[in-house]
């Protein structure tokens, strides 16, 4: 396998933060998940947990962009692009199996560091979604509300899937959501 080992390492670390949250992820758990010793983690991330979270956050935003939001700019009709975006979001979360790190890092003490960056990133995303809704004929204000409703639904399904401990809930919910978008 010629997969950059750095990517594997980041994926393993991300899994711990997703499951335990920022405060809940201890260096012992992060070390176990990666198969490295604590000191070795500090070789890769001299800044410790703080740096890990910062790197993983940038990485998560980039992946969301690539897998979901990039599908908003295409040649298909606007509703079809929105449905593709929802499908991309599902891919990003691995069909609801994994949480979104952006949401994870917006809570607790991590929010004090990353809160502003996350808030402005979400506003950018909402503008892009709203622009697509405007193509469907909605006026700016209404388009913004529709964009907000869509993101709330996506993150809502992601959250309630955890509350219900059932990823089938996520898959069915997003399927339904895609259908309402293309009707």
């Amino acid at each position: 396998m010629r997969v950059p080992s750095r990517a594997i390492l980041l994926n393993q670390l991300e899994a711990v933060f997703q499951m335990r949250g920022y405060e809940g992820a201890t260096l012992t758990q992060l070390a176990e998940a990666t198969g490295l010793g604590k000191a070795s983690l500090y070789h890769h991330f001299p800044g410790g947990k703080t740096e890990m979270a910062a790197v993983l956050l940038r990485e998560a935003v980039a992946r969301l962009e690539q897998q979901a939001f990039s599908r908003l700019s295409g040649s298909q009709p606007a509703p079809e692009r929105l449905a593709q975006f929802v499908a991309g979001f599902s891919d990003y979360t691995e069909q609801g199996e994994r949480n979104c790190l952006v949401a994870v890092l917006a809570q607790g003490s991590a929010a004090e560091i990353h809160g502003n960056a996350i808030a402005s990133q979400f506003d950018i995303w909402l503008r892009r979604l709203a622009a697509v809704y405007e193509e469907t004929g909605s006026r700016p204000k209404r388009a913004r509300r529709e964009a907000e409703a869509l993101l709330a639904s996506l993150y809502g399904y992601l959250l309630t899937t955890r509350l219900l401990a059932d990823t089938g809930h996520f898959r069915r919910g997003l399927k339904r959501l895609r259908k309402t978008l293309t009707d």
Copy 2:
């Protein structure tokens, strides 16, 4: 003041758990928020953080029942009752200012203790919501999906409101949601 001081104490503790999460809420912070010493907290909750979380969870479920779900059983038309339920949920979260403790305790290490109870409680809530949707003419399967979509939207708005750091987002979203229910 003739307000039961126990209620004030619980409210102060709940605020810390809501803002910092279960792991993030330290005894030092809990003590500071209540104006008590750590040892005094152990007088009220001999089981420590574990007991606080358990008591607060029961209390939160009871308040959700009282403020939101109880409005599903009334004499008005089903859509109107659903809108009332949404309004009650808004009250419960103080218009998005405060997070839902049930959602907070479904994450990290607290999930290992309370996860099962939370999952079955949410299933009960979904059944009650689905029953109301059935009154509007939806078949059981569809009613269940509509119930899931409604809860996902509510908790989604609560989450994205935190991501955006803007409670106006929550108020507008729920207003919009109520409107779609009664149309």
